[in-house]
Amino acid sequence: MSELTLERGLAAFRAEIDAPIAAFFSSCVHCGICAQSCPFYLETGDPKYTPVLKLEPLRRVWEAEFTLWGRIKRILGLEQKVTDAMLAEWEELLYDSCSMCGRCSMVCPVGNDLAYMIRKTREGMVQSGHAPEGLINASIRAITTGSPMGLQWKTLAVQIKHVESSSGLVVPVDKVGAEYLVLLSSMEVINFPEYLEAITRIFDHAGVTWTLSTQCFEATNAGIQIGNKDIAAQLVERVVAAAEALQVPKVISPECGHAFTAIRWEGPNLIGRRYPFRVFHIVEVLEELRASGRLKTEGKETDRLSMHDPCNLARKSGVIQPQRNLMDLVAENFVDLDEHGKYQWCCGAGGGVSSNERAEPLKMAAFKRKKAQIEKVEPERMVTMCATCRTQLEEGLETFNMDIPVVGLTEMIADHLVEKTPAKDDTRA
């Protein structure tokens, strides 16, 4: 029976090296600025968490096999070898202490996209058998059950019933030819069922046709987090198959950061072809509805609100202004954190850190950066649009005894929808 080995890991590192990787490693001057952008270094003060150092295994393979001088060094016996022991040591650095938030990619003076390199390095870690247990289990569950948390359709079906009874609306399922296929994340289904009700009401309000798919409802991708193409591709294929089966032109990724980047940016490359549909984050869809006047709201939140931009949505996907436009729609006392948008700070839970139980202390340490940001602005509530971020914010704020509730943006929009009766008149007219 086949097994994961160092050789497979090295081959995976090799296969991941492309022109940008070579340019990045060629350019690093060890200035250490990346550490100043990493919440894991900043909040622990341990220099081993310097981002560029986390890439050492990949760098060694690049130097030895992709440079002239490296080849000469290899002949002279000066090669720095990548060993199993080394990879075991680096497992913590590449998984526990990196949420792939990409902030280092934004500040590196020579322009290195470190998050891109971390993602590629994880490929070799998986192939060599050095991925953390929590992520392995999530991957296995995702493949075998369809959900990283082992959630079944029957659980979701119960949620759908609740939503339908509380809203008096129908949640469309397996509706061929709908405009949007809505995907969910297991965490939302379990922790934040209000999201499903919110989109049901908003889409009904705006007259959007949409559907869920019994074939695939899960948007999250454990393969992306653990860093393995094979698992990631299988999970993406499920989404594509479901969308193709229902012949939808658009797919909506839920309030989950990595799920969006997985489907939106990595997915087509994982399966090696363009999608027959387009992918949007729910915030993008809401913004489009708002801009086209299909979102009619009344009243505004009056308390002081601030917002946490999920890294995957803002910095890594360019969705920054839409959520602010939507906030302006429903909040009159909104204030941004000091560093926000593409320069926001990670909550500390992304990139698989939240699925990696072992990383719990580091995850909480990294949160302190966010905590400090929140303390500076002193909001009464925080708004966000990622279930993982939201969970982390709630846990973190509770840990530090800060009484600041966290709400999802979509629900907040749903709360302010104008009552539907006049809309019926409109359709009649």
């Binding site: 029976m1 086949s2 097994e3 994961l4 497979r8 081959a11 995976a12 090799r14 296969a15 090296i17 096999e65 992709f66 440079t67 002239l68 080849r71 998986v126 192939q127 058998g129 991925a131 247990e133 392995i136 289990n137 991957s139 296995i140 493949i143 075998t144 393995n228 094979d230 698992i231």
Partner: protein, 368 residues
Amino acid sequence: MATPIPEKTLGERLRDHGLSRRGFLKLCAATASMMALPASMVPRIAAALEQARRPSVIWLSFQECTGCTESLTRSHAPTLEDLILKMVSLDYHHTLQAAAGEAAEEARLQAMEANAGEYLVIVDGSIPGPDANPGFSTVAGQSNYDILMETVEHAAAVIAVGTCAAFGGLPQARPNPTGAMSVMDLVKDKPVINVSGCPPVPMVITGVLAHYLTFGRLPDLDAYGRPMAFFGQSIHDRCYRRPFYDKGLFAESFDDQGAKEGWCLYRLGCKGPTTYNACATMKWNGGTSWPIESGHPCLGCSEPSFWDGGGFYEPVSVPLTANAGTLLTAGAVGAVVGGGSAALAKHGVKKADAERQPVTIDELEQTQ
């Protein structure tokens, strides 16, 4: 022309020739100036010269152009005439002596015998080395090398006058067809003083003689065996145009405004920064001017390998042979090498991709 060892001191001799004490004092002032010594040294020089004795000098000319002799005979202070008559006994010099043929050579041998161990040998011109064809340069059928070695054997010291004698000069420039060598390449067991320059500043030649005469010993020398008094500072350091260099004001062509204003000639190829000589203070033609003052960059003629040290009009910082062609060729080679290296790497990537085993959940489970 051979002279016996002078029994009288120089002071007595000069007075015999009718020189008054004021005249002698004046001679000393001129000598101090010539030796680049401070004027405060004049009394000491006077005391020393009073007691000095005339040395016998043998002048040998080899592969040379007579420019050095020309330079010396135009030395104005004191004129060579004075020097010959009053200060040294020039017993042999091809160009200047009256005697010719056998008699001339006889004069040299006589002087050597009469002053064995005490005479000075002045050499101008480079010498075809012991391994070169001796026929490249001969005097009276004798090779330059043989004459030099024979003459130097009982000399007190050798003064190599001019860059050819000091460093090989023009004859030694690549490809050095005559196997030319400098005096110090060949003479290892006698003190050799190099008075380099093409030609040397005439006062420097006489100054070295005056120093030997005055103090009875050789002057302090630099790493090239040149008298520190004259070669201790670079042209650049003593150049009156130095303030322009320091201010960054340069002539960029020979007729631009900078050239007319007398700005620094660095960009026109001036070798002043790397050249050590006394031109900036001693000047030429009776103190009238010197190359930089007349608007021409220093060629660096008093330095070794100056003929092979880059174009006269190339600034000091310009590499000798490197050019864009070399760079482009090397770049092209690099591209090919890199292409090979990258192809190899790319092959590795493709192989890794082709042989890639997908990760299965079974495999993941095993690592638990």
